[in-house]
C-alpha cells in the first residue's frame, strides 16, 4: 500500500537524520532525568502515606509515571520546532510537489518520534530502577503504551500547529502556555488529592490527570479498575481527536 510505503520512506529518512545527531535523543531526556535524580529522592523522605501506598518504595512508583508523562508531554509537543526548520529549508514543499502521500509526510515523522520517545522512556525507567523503583514489568509496559498513544496525538498536533505558524517565536510561547498548566494540573510532582477542592476540580480538565492515575494504578499492581478504564478511554480519545486535527494541515491543498 502506497501510504505505508510512503510513511516508512519518511520514517527511514527521519531516523537517518536523527542518528546523525544522536545527542538530541539524550538532550530531550535531560529535564526528566534531572527531576528524577535531583527531586525524586525528596519524595522518598515524605511521611509514608502522603503519596498513597505504605512504603518508601511507593514514592518511586508514584513519581516515575509522572516523569514519563512529563517526558511524553514535552518530548512530543516540541517536535514541531523541527518541521519549522524543515519548512524553511524548503523540504516540506519539495515533498509536497512529489506524488508522495501528503499524510505520510506527517505519519513518517510521528512514527519516528513515537519510537524515540518510547526509547527515552525505557531509559528513564531503567534509571528509575537504579534509584529504587520496583514495579511489575506489565505495569511498565502499560505505561510505555500510554506514552506511545499520547505521543502519536500530541506530535501530530504539534507538527500541524508549527506548520501553520511557521515561526519558532510564536510556537515556543504557545507550547509553554498550553503544556505547563496541563502538566501541573495532571499531578506529576504531588498527588492532586493534596490540593484544595477548586484545584482538584480544574485538574479534571487535564486529560493527563486520568492517564497518570491509570499508570500509577498499574504501577501499584491494579490493572482492572475504573481508573484504568478512564485512562485508556481518555488516551485513545485524545489521540484520535489530535490525529484528526493534526492531519488536516497536511492534507490541505494549500500550505
Amino acid at each position: 500500500m502506497t501510504f505505508i510505503h510512503d510513511t516508512l520512506l519518511v520514517f527511514r529518512r527521519q531516523v537517518r537524520l536523527l542518528l546523525r545527531e544522536p545527542a538530541f535523543i539524550v538532550i530531550a531526556m535531560i529535564q526528566p532525568l534531572l527531576f528524577l535524580v535531583l527531586f525524586g529522592p525528596l519524595l522518598t523522605r515524605l511521611p509514608i502515606g502522603t503519596l498513597g501506598g505504605r512504603t518508601t518504595g511507593d514514592a518511586w512508583r508514584f513519581f516515575v509515571p509522572g516523569l514519563l508523562i512529563q517526558l511524553g508531554l514535552f518530548g512530543s509537543t516540541f517536535v514541531g520546532f523541527a518541521i519549522i526548520s524543515d519548512w524553511r529549508a524548503g523540504v516540506i514543499e519539495r515533498f509536497r510537489v512529489t506524488p508522495v502521500s501528503r499524510l505520510a509526510i506527517l505519519s513518517g515523522r510521528v512514527l519516528r518520534d513515537v519510537c524515540t520517545l518510547v526509547l527515552q522512556a525505557v531509559l528513564l525507567v531503567l534509571v528509575g530502577v537504579a534509584f529504587g523503583l520496583r514495579a511489575p514489568l506489565a505495569a511498565i509496559l502499560v505505561s510505555l503504551g500510554f506514552i506511545a498513544v499520547v505521543a502519536i496525538g500530541l506530535a501530530s498536533v504539534s507538527y500541524s500547529v508549527a506548520l501553520l505558524l511557521k515561526s519558532e517565536d510564536a510556537f515556543a510561547p504557545l507550547i509553554n502556555t498550553v503544556v505547563v498548566p496541563l502538566m501541573l494540573l495532571s499531578g506529576i510532582m504531588l498527588p492532586m488529592s493534596l490540593g484544595p477542592g477548586w484545584l482538584q476540580g480544574i485538574s479534571r480538565i487535564s486529560p493527563f490527570r486520568y492517564i497518570i492515575d491509570a499508570m500509577r494504578s498499574a504501577y501499584a499492581g491494579h490493572y482492572w479498575n475504573s481508573l484504568m478504564a478512564e485512562g485508556v478511554a481518555v488516551a485513545i480519545g485524545l489521540a484520535i481527536a489530535c490525529l484528526f486535527l493534526g492531519s488536516r494541515a497536511f492534507l490541505k491543498e494549500n500550505a
Partner: protein, 346 residues
C-alpha cells in the same frame, strides 16, 4: 504541442474584510521543448502562478493542463510528471537538508516518485555526473558550495526524468561564473533530454541569454509574451545617437522627415533617433545627412534591452528590485532609448 496551457488562472485571498487578488488572470502556453522565462516585478504574481502550476496552491478560478493532466482535477498526475526546483532565497530554501548526504537526497527523491532502488541508484549516479557533482555523493549537503548545492537541487527535480521542469529563480544568489555554468546545464537539459524548462528569473540578461520565449506578468495579469527579440522590436525600436556639424534645427528637421525615423529627440550626446531596424537605417541616415551637405561627427547604434521592454510594459525597471542592483545607474544606462518616446508609443 503545448505542455502547459493555462487560461484565466487566478488566485484570490480572503483576509479579514479585504479580498486580495494575488493573481487576476494568467493565460499562458508553453510548447514542448521550449525554455520559457517568466518575468515580473516583485509582487506581480510570479511565485503564486508558479505555485499554482506546480499544485502547491489551488487556483480560485481558471483552469490549466500541465503535462497532459488537469491541474485541479488530477493534481497527483501533474506531480508525477513535473519536476520542481524551489527558489533558494527568501523565506524558504531550495529543499535540501543540511544534515543529509548528497546521495541520500537523490535516493530519497527517487523513492518519493516510487522509483525502485536499483533504478533510483542508477538515476542518481547519472545525475551526479551530468550536473558535475561526481565524487560528492558522500558529502553532507551543508558542506557544498552555493553552486554545487543549487545543482543538487536541480538534480532532485530531474530524478524521475520529467518532461517539464519548473525552476524558481535558479541562479539567484550565485556568482557570475556558477550562473553561466548553470545556464549551460539548463541548455543541455533541453538539447540532450528534450526537457521543457519553465523558469522565473530576476535577471534580464538571464532571460535574454537562456530563454526561447519570455512571458511577462504584471499586477497578476500576463501582459506580453514572445521571443526576447520580438518583444524588444515590438515595444521599443533601436536608437541611433548622432552628432551633426551644422545647425541642429536643420539636422533635426531633415532627420525627422526620413520615413525610417519614428522619433527624434535632443540629448546631451546629440540627436537620439528611434528607428525600426537600426542596421538598415544607418546607411540611409548617412546618405541623407551627406546629401544635405552636412557631416556626421559621431554616430552610434544601440538596441533596446529586455529591461526597456519591461519598463515600457510595467512602468517599473526589473533592475530596481534585483539583488545585484547597486542603486547606481547601470553602465549601459546612456544607451537606453528615450523612455518618454518609448512610453508614448505604447
Amino acid at each position: 504541442m503545448p505542455i502547459i496551457e493555462a487560461t484565466g488562472l487566478a488566485r484570490t485571498y480572503q483576509s479579514r474584510k479585504r479580498v486580495v487578488h494575488a493573481v487576476r488572470g494568467v493565460d499562458l502556453t508553453v510548447d514542448e521543448g521550449e525554455i520559457v522565462g517568466f518575468l515580473g516585478p516583485n509582487g506581480a504574481g510570479k511565485t503564486t502562478t508558479l505555485r499554482m502550476l506546480t499544485t502547491l496552491l489551488r487556483p480560485t478560478a481558471g483552469h490549466a493542463t500541465v503535462a497532459g493532466a488537469d491541474l485541479v482535477r488530477d493534481p497527483v498526475a501533474v506531480r508525477r510528471r513535473i519536476g520542481f526546483v524551489p527558489q533558494a532565497i527568501g523565506q524558504t530554501m531550495g529543499g535540501t537538508d543540511n544534515q543529509a548526504k548528497v546521495i541520500e537526497e537523490l535516493h530519497d527523491q527517487a523513492a518519493l516518485y516510487r522509483i525502485g532502488k536499483a533504478d533510483g541508484a542508477r538515476r542518481a549516479k547519472a545525475l551526479l555526473s551530468q550536473l558535475d557533482l561526481g565524487g560528492l555523493g558522500d558529502r553532507l549537503v551543508k558542506t557544498l558550495s552555493g553552486g554545487q548545492r543549487r545543482r543538487l537541487e536541480i538534480a532532485l527535480g530531474l530524478v524521475h526524468e520529467p518532461p517539464i521542469v519548473f525552476l524558481d529563480e535558479p541562479t539567484t544568489g550565485l556568482d557570475p561564473q556558477s550562473r553561466s555554468n548553470l545556464w549551460d546545464h539548463i541548455r543541455r537539459l533541453r538539447s540532450d533530454l528534450g526537457t521543457t524548462v519553465f523558469l522565473t528569473t530576476h535577471y534580464l540578461e538571464e532571460a535574454d541569454a537562456l530563454c526561447d520565449r519570455v512571458i511577462i506578468i504584471d499586477n497578476g495579469v500576463t501582459v506580453a509574451a514572445g521571443t526576447p527579440d520580438e518583444l524588444k522590436r515590438h515595444v521599443s525600436g533601436d536608437v541611433v545617437t548622432l552628432k551633426v556639424s551644422g545647425p541642429a534645427d536643420r539636422a533635426r528637421q531633415l532627420l525627422a522627415a526620413q520615413p525610417i525615423v519614428r522619433d527624434v529627440a535632443e540629448s546631451d550626446e546629440g540627436l537620439r533617433l528611434t528607428v525600426e531596424h537600426g542596421e538598415e537605417a544607418l546607411p540611409a541616415l548617412l546618405r541623407a545627412v551627406d546629401g544635405a551637405g552636412m557631416t556626421i561627427s559621431s554616430i552610434s547604434l544601440s538596441r533596446p534591452t529586455l529591461d526597456d521592454v519591461f519598463l515600457t510594459l510595467t512602468g517599473r525597471s526589473l533592475r530596481d528590485d534585483s539583488p545585484s542592483s547597486t542603486g547606481k545607474p547601470t553602465a549601459d544606462a546612456t544607451q537606453q532609448p528615450d523612455l518618454a518616446a518609448a512610453a508614448s508609443r505604447k
